[in-house]
Symmetry: C2
Subunit: 479 residues, 2 copies
């Protein structure tokens, strides 16, 4: 059992070294492994199963809006990428480039897609002719590649898995509306599926996506007060459409240019789940995405009747939940620690004494609460308990967000908070990117997160330069 | 309506030009479009939805066997690929190669994965220590890239979508057994899901996978008598495991090398479906993968009550089937042709006269049969009819396979069939690759398809060289 115990004892405390705690969980809960390609990870079965559950949830939400899945090539010819100037300026420097194929030098460089706006535009140019062809609401699930210098599993990698939606609309209003509609869908995924309350708003000009007119963002706060840019939706206006000669005959029989959006969320969501909900015993998974929602651990399983009863409960619960029965010869204590490490929301213990009393013990991963449950009520109990776990995980994350969000009325306060209190800072801003640069430099990394939809009035002037304020902005460090 | 009609009229007859007929269907049924990257296609919504249905079916079958999904990096360092000599010899010449990343020349070339044996081995080397860690049954859904000279949508492309399974086992017997077990799963997918009877067997030494000890194959016959290599499973022995230093402590406490398999099927299956079942009116989709299983076409839809009734049928059928109601202002005739082109298995027509009589008309795509159905029986009728369509599509494909499979006892017969009768040739073979080469040259492309599990005895000698025969082999041209 020496090797077994090691698994659990080895987790670094999150208060001691948050970064180390994070990678400990990634490795020891068997979510991902490193590969010999720098910045590329292996998604192990448990980590990939979480992603599959997130995918399924998101895909259903997309399809309800009429979004259709497609698949575009993984390579972009340089000429195509060059059609939109801001876009190539933003992405080309961080691309992996194919220069040889079939044993020969290629006449044109091919970029491994960092994102696929240009391919969707090339295709839309061919298939959009009339207002009857609009809107086009396409999405693809794929991997993309960005040659990042510093990488961390799920958070920042040379390759990551994501979905990217690209839509075309008849009017600017409709496209803008869809950009916000998808932002709300993403927000629902955070709240209803991941049990995470994100801060939501618009990116500043400086922080918006290369080529976009407006970028909206979801920024969950990690347990240590650091932000994660965890999903964005973009409104492009008609700049890409013009660059790619996309036009359609309108209701007035005139020629028009359509308006475009794109939106993406990635496996970074798994990183958010780890860092928002995890604790010093390991992962804590929201029930709706947990590959195992309930683990059944038999106690004294060699005694007559125990395994039979455990199997009976397994069959019963499997009808409605994702359940694992661990009847291996590891000790119950090891199993407890193992499934805590893996963040299984609910543990059911069943032993000879429980069976005598017609009950079992239920233990919540998020709170550690333990209570006896009558076997006749078990199924209803589990359903209700998983809902409760979701709700209280959400509440806990919300309290962390609130307790680590501070208000700065002037630059002295701002710098003091930035130095001493990890978290978000709400402060007024004049709208000048120069102030964003100054803040980033003075604080060693604090950036504007977003302009929320409902801005508070903190003061009349920019917390940085003292000029008249245009917006209230959330500021913070980021992964 | 001019543009509408064009869609249907433009299909080339399959008897006139099979290749042109094929690409007409791909384009006009909106399965795929070309992109500006040579050999890479855009999977359009309808084509991708077929793939999603195939994926779902296969993924469920895999999971029942205990297979777990993972995701490996899309790039392979050259050094890793070189570890198994046959493997790099087989694949390196047809790879796309990344030589630049993040604006700099890379010190080591990275190959876009043509297949991922080496990455799975690298990972398995880290996680397999004891016989308790075995078997490992991993699979991934991804895209791979092979720099093919001649490409055709779904059949042969620079990039295609597939699944690749890679498993490690304690003993050679177990690995060999799993290789065959997965072959049977694939065969079930063909028969039960795609309504296609494949010829199944073992590849000759010459035709087996680079690095494998044995390759098994599924070879469906297209309508024109040409074969498609439509799925393979490989037994690797322990050669990769040795090359990658993978070992485990066995039950005897000694150090052992595990035994490996891999297996893959791709979007080529969509090509098989088109070419096995399609006809001169377009695609004919097997009901179990059809994105739309039933289309409801209202007749005289402006008349009172028609759309209400059509909507009622839609709601009723949607509970159990994938249904579309087309209430657009296109004519019924256009709609008939359009959904025939798209291969929708069953059409329901409902008009004022039908409603009066409490019935609707049901039209089968595969046979064109039309019959009235009482509305009260509709749901049960549709369920039964979709099953019947599946079965009769399978029978029709089986008859095509049988009627185009010929037997050759000597070389004269062989060459005569190869020249004049498109299809498969059953003939004896001595086991010498030289005869395979000679046959390929003399016939302009006929290759060994496979050695079936149940060989017939046609004669005692090789049909090509006259030396003693070792096996009966299926021969044929391929896509």
């Amino acid at each position: 059992m020496a090797q077994e115990k090691k698994k659990v004892e080895d987790i670094t405390s999150m208060d001691e070294d948050f970064a180390h705690w994070y990678t400990d969980i990634v490795r020891k809960a068997e979510l991902a492994d490193y590969s010999s390609v720098k910045g590329c990870i292996v998604y192990e079965p448990y980590g990939y199963a979480i992603w599959e559950n997130i995918q399924k949830d998101m895909d259903e939400r997309f399809k309800k809006l009429g979004v259709q899945n497609v698949y575009m090539p993984m390579l972009l010819p340089e000429g195509l990428l060059q059609k939109e100037k801001d876009h190539i300026d933003g992405f080309a420097p961080e691309c992996a480039v194919v220069t040889q194929g079939g044993g020969e030098e290629l006449s044109e460089k091919l970029y491994v897609r960092p994102t696929s706006e240009v391919l969707f535009c090339e295709h839309y140019q061919k298939i959009i002719h009339s207002y009857r062809d609009l809107p086009k609401l396409y999405n693809q699930w794929c991997s993309v590649m960005r040659w990042e210098k510093t990488t961390r599993p799920f958070l920042r990698g040379a390759e990551f898995l994501w979905q990217e939606g690209h839509t075309m609309h008849e009017t600017a209003e409709e496209a803008e509306e869809f950009t916000l509609k998808m932002l709300r869908v993403y927000e629902d995924v955070y709240r209803e599926t991941l049990a995470i309350p994100p801060v939501v708003g618009r990116k500043t000009e400086k922080e918006k996506f290369a080529g976009a007119e407006a970028t909206y963002t979801l920024e969950p706060m990690m347990h240590n007060g650091v932000a994660l840019q965890g999903g964005t939706t973009h409104y492009f206006g008609d700049s890409f459409a013009k660059a790619f000669d996309i036009s359609f005959t309108g209701r007035d029989n005139g020629l028009h240019t359509p308006f475009q959006t794109s939106w993406g969320m990635s496996t970074r969501l798994i990183g958010a789940v780890i860092m928002v909900h995890g604790d010093n015993n390991g992962l804590v998974l929201p029930p709706r995405i947990a590959p195992i929602q309930v683990v059944i651990v038999p106690i004294a399983q060699h005694k007559p009747g125990v395994l039979d009863k455990a199997n009976e409960l397994y069959r019963q619960l499997s009808e409605s939940f994702r359940v694992k029965l661990d009847d291996s010869d590891n000790s119950p204590g090891w199993k407890f620690a193992q499934y805590e490490m893996q963040g299984v929301p609910l543990r059911i213990e069943i032993g000879p004494k429980d069976i005598e009393q017609g009950q079992c013990m239920a233990v919540r991963r998020d709170t550690g609460e333990k209570c006896p449950v009558q076997l006749s009520d078990l199924k209803a109990f589990v359903g209700g308990c998983l809902e409760k776990i979701h709700d209280s995980m959400y509440q806990k994350a919300l309290e962390n967000l609130h307790s680590k969000t501070f208000t700065a009325s002037n630059y002295e306060e701002f710098l003091d908070i930035a130095k001493n209190k990890p978290g978000f800072i709400k402060a007024m801003w004049c709208g000048d990117p120069a102030c964003e640069d100054k803040i980033k430099e003075d604080t060693g990394g604090v950036k504007s997160r977003c302009i929320p939809f409902e801005e508070e009035h903190i003061s009349d002037v920019c917390a940085c330069c003292g000029k008249p304020a245009k917006h209230m902005v959330y500021w913070g460090r980021q992964y």
